[in-house]
């Protein structure tokens, strides 16, 4: 069975906690805090002021550049503040606060359940609608989707790849979406294919989700050019470059090369559903499925949540925080970000809230490197994490750059596998940021 060519690890997938829970709507919060930077790129520029009334789906902030995204009101009500609010890590960022009054949607949004298959729009119109709806990559990277779909001059897209891998342990939001919203997903895929003018799309799903594979395969028979492929379960298969290699055999060259250089455009499965809703139903991105999970959580769930809902209310809905020490993650355990502020809002890239408790919440004690080479074996980019760590201690930035640190995708395989419990990625991340800074400074000097 197919997988990517180099490295990888097998973390226990722990999807059992939430995989059987069907998607449920989270209660509407009384107040939402909607940050203006929910995506990679420039923050959106606010278009409303304190005291304004808004309906669900109304534009409240406009993309602040090409690589940026629109932001819409996730609830209806009155704007009570446009100011700095702490995010999940406690850092302050600009946000719009809305106090809820009812649940009144814009009339232009089609909220019926009816499936709309046919799409007669031109590619440029499709991209424009996706841009207007503020859609970003929902796997966690939050790269604005309309940017991906705008193929640069001289490049040509050959295949659309849909990421249904969800290799991150614990998370099941994409899985539930594929099972419950398969039709919408495939229509979304057809629309995306049209947007980039390709006649072939491949949906990659890992074989730890056999029911999702079967379901999508059966549905895909009705659609032209869409193929569903099972992949051998291996982390980090959901990494863009790993997925392209697993499905097409083509390897994206080191940075600054992009997937389009090998003719591929990659979109997440949940993103495809959002594209369906934006193009066929005129519905902007105002909500998403968030997996709230953990071994010690009373009732793990998959909750369809409006953006801006405080994380603590999702946890309360799932039975509340377990006793004792906890590590709360925005995302899954391999790449998620640790949270210290649970009052912070759910954003576009939040595929899950994972709660680790007790011993699982603690890091092991590091000991001496025994040069076992497990990190070299595990690195999916073919790097040498142990060496980068040693050079980082010595601040040997030149050597680190020569050893291709900019290729690092920060998947964490090295640290996951290290028998000496060395926090390899902490060092590598520090070195990568430093080296990228050095490279940027050098380029601006030129």
């Amino acid at each position: 069975m197919r997988t990517f060519p180099i490295g990888g690890v097998h973390p226990s997938d722990n999807k059992k906690w939430s995989k059987a829970s069907a998607i449920e709507a989270m209660e509407l919060p009384d107040v939402v805090v909607v940050p203006l930077a929910q995506h990679i790129g420039a923050p959106a520029v606010v278009k409303v002021a304190k005291g304004d009334k808004v309906k669900v789906g109304e534009l409240i902030a406009e993309a602040g550049g090409f690589v940026s995204a629109n932001i819409h009101a996730p609830i209806s009500g009155t704007i009570t503040a446009v100011d700095l609010q702490p995010n999940g890590q406690g850092l302050r960022q600009m946000a719009v606060t809305i106090k809820r009054e009812g649940d009144e949607w814009l009339e232009s949004i089609d909220r019926s359940e009816e499936l709309v298959r046919d799409c007669s729009l031109e590619p440029a119109e499709i991209v424009a609608r996706i841009k207007a709806a503020g859609i970003v990559g929902m796997g966690g990277a939050t790269f604005p989707t309309h940017v991906k779909l705008s193929i640069p001059e001289g490049k040509r897209a050959e295949v659309l790849i849909i990421n249904g891998v969800e290799c991150e342990p614990y998370l099941t939001s994409d899985y539930r979406t594929m099972l419950e919203r398969g039709e919408q997903l495939l229509v979304g895929v057809s629309i995306l294919m049209k947007a980039i003018s390709v006649d072939r799309a491949v949906v990659g799903v890992e074989n730890n989700k056999p029911d999702a594979i079967e379901h999508l395969k059966a549905l895909a028979k009705e659609y032209v050019g869409i193929e569903v492929k099972a992949l051998k379960t291996m982390y980090p298969q959901g990494g863009e470059k790993q997925l392209i290699a697993a499905l097409t055999g083509r390897e994206v060259p080191p940075p600054p090369a992009l997937p389009i250089d090998v003719g591929a455009v990659v979109c997440n499965a949940s993103t495809a559903v959002a594209v369906y809703e934006a193009v066929q139903k005129n519905k902007p991105l105002v909500e998403r499925v968030v997996t709230v999970t953990g071994a010690s959580l009373a009732e793990p769930r998959n909750l369809l949540t409006r953006f801006g809902t405080p994380v603590e209310s999702l946890i309360a809905r799932c039975g509340g925080l377990p006793e004792g020490d906890v590590r709360i993650l925005n995302g899954g355990p391999m790449m998620g970000r640790p949270m210290s502020n649970l009052a912070s809002p759910v954003m576009k890239g939040c595929s899950g809230i994972t709660i680790l408790s007790g011993k699982d919440a603690l890091r092991g004690e590091p000991s001496a490197c025994i040069k076992c080479a497990k990190c070299v074996e595990a690195c999916p980019m073919g790097l040498e994490p142990y060496l980068l760590q040693r050079y980082t201690v010595k601040k040997a930035w030149d050597e680190i750059e020569r050893n291709d640190i900019t290729s690092c995708i920060e998947c964490g395989c090295c640290q996951f596998t290290c028998p000496a419990n060395i926090a390899l990625l902490d060092y590598v991340r520090l070195a990568k940021q430093t080296v990228m800074g050095i490279i940027r400074a050098r380029n601006t000097k030129k």
Partner: protein
């Protein structure tokens, strides 16, 4: 607030590997060979092994406690592995004080002065064995005859390799299968090919090591012996026997599977491992055929140990996206 929030960067989970588990797996993998050794040479094997392990652990503890400071490292089991491997490299009837000297060299000369586990340039057990071989040549090469009924005692006191070097072996009638089952005279760990291969299978299964180093070492030895044999003997049958003899006789298996694969003193990339393994195989055969010693495995490993930093510097893994 009742909860304490723990904040650390990703990844937030860890696999089931630990230094201690890896070391424990190496110990388990050596048990079949140890058992056969006890069967072949008698209970004296256990005395030698116990002495070796006890001395290694004690020396490491003492050095850590009184010279280096810091937390004790004996709990990572690496001193036990060194002690066990050292015992595997000695004859069953060796005086115990020589065992203690060997343990001292392994821990107090080859391992701890470099900074302990992970920092040493040379494999401690091999360094100690080579020291003993040069310092106490007669004790280190006087082997007890296998004490088991029906086992060949024709070469008692000398290894098969030594006998071969003295042109005492008739390769036409040589019984490779017998040696495979464990009837040769030699060090504790050299007697039983099948037990060592069992250990190899265990190490592969548990993913403690990869196949690259052992296969490169043994492949090179077999190929070298076959080519040499093709010039020395007339019939293919004898050439095959000669090649098998070099694989199974002496310390080739023990060295390739357990000594050359020592994490600390072997390369970090698979390509590097192959280069290192081929180097060990070549040097072993050169010493066996044209050197002063009948067995060249230990010297070959030590020499290649010293090349490892150079290999790590120049032999890189294939980077993703670069063909």
């Amino acid at each position: 607030m009742a909860n304490k929030f723990i904040v650390a960067s990703a990844p937030h989970v860890h696999g089931d590997l630990s230094t201690r588990r890896l070391m424990a797996d190496v110990i388990i993998a050596l048990l079949p060979a140890l058992a056969v050794s006890v069967y072949v040479f008698g209970w004296g094997v256990l005395t030698v092994t116990a002495t070796s392990i006890a001395c290694c652990v004690l020396f490491e503890y003492l050095v850590q406690r009184f010279l280096v400071g810091g937390k004790t490292t004996i709990t990572n089991l690496s001193a036990i592995v060194t002690g066990l491997l050292l015992a595997m490299n000695m004859p069953a009837n060796i005086p115990l004080w020589i065992v203690a000297v060997g343990a001292f060299v392994a821990i107090c000369v080859a391992k701890m002065p470099f900074g302990g586990l992970g920092k040493n340039l040379f494999n401690p057990a091999i360094a100690a064995r080579v020291f003993l071989l040069i310092a106490y040549p007669s004790q280190m090469t006087t082997f007890a005859a296998p004490s088991v009924e029906g086992f060949a005692d024709a070469y008692s006191g000398a290894t098969m390799l030594a006998a071969a070097k003295a042109c005492l072996v008739d390769f036409g009638s040589y019984d490779a299968m017998g040696m495979f089952a464990g009837i040769q005279s030699g060090s504790l760990g050299e007697v039983a090919a099948f037990a060592l291969l069992l250990g190899f299978a265990y190490l592969l299964l548990r993913r403690v090591i990869t196949w690259h180093i052992p296969v490169a070492v043994l492949g090179t030895i077999a190929l070298f012996a076959a080519v040499y044999g093709a010039f020395a003997f007339d019939t293919p049958h004898v050439v095959l026997n000669y090649s098998l003899f070099h694989l199974i006789g002496g310390g080739a298996l023990l060295g390739a599977i357990f000594m050359a694969t020592d994490y600390v003193t072997s390369p970090m990339t698979t390509r590097g491992m192959v280069i290192y393994g081929v180097g060990i195989g070549l040097l072993t055969m050169i010493i066996r055929l044209w050197g002063a010693y009948p067995e060249g495995m230990s010297f070959a490993i030590l020499i290649m140990n010293s090349v490892v930093p150079l290999i790590n510097k120049y032999v890189k893994p294939r980077r993703f996206g670069k063909k």
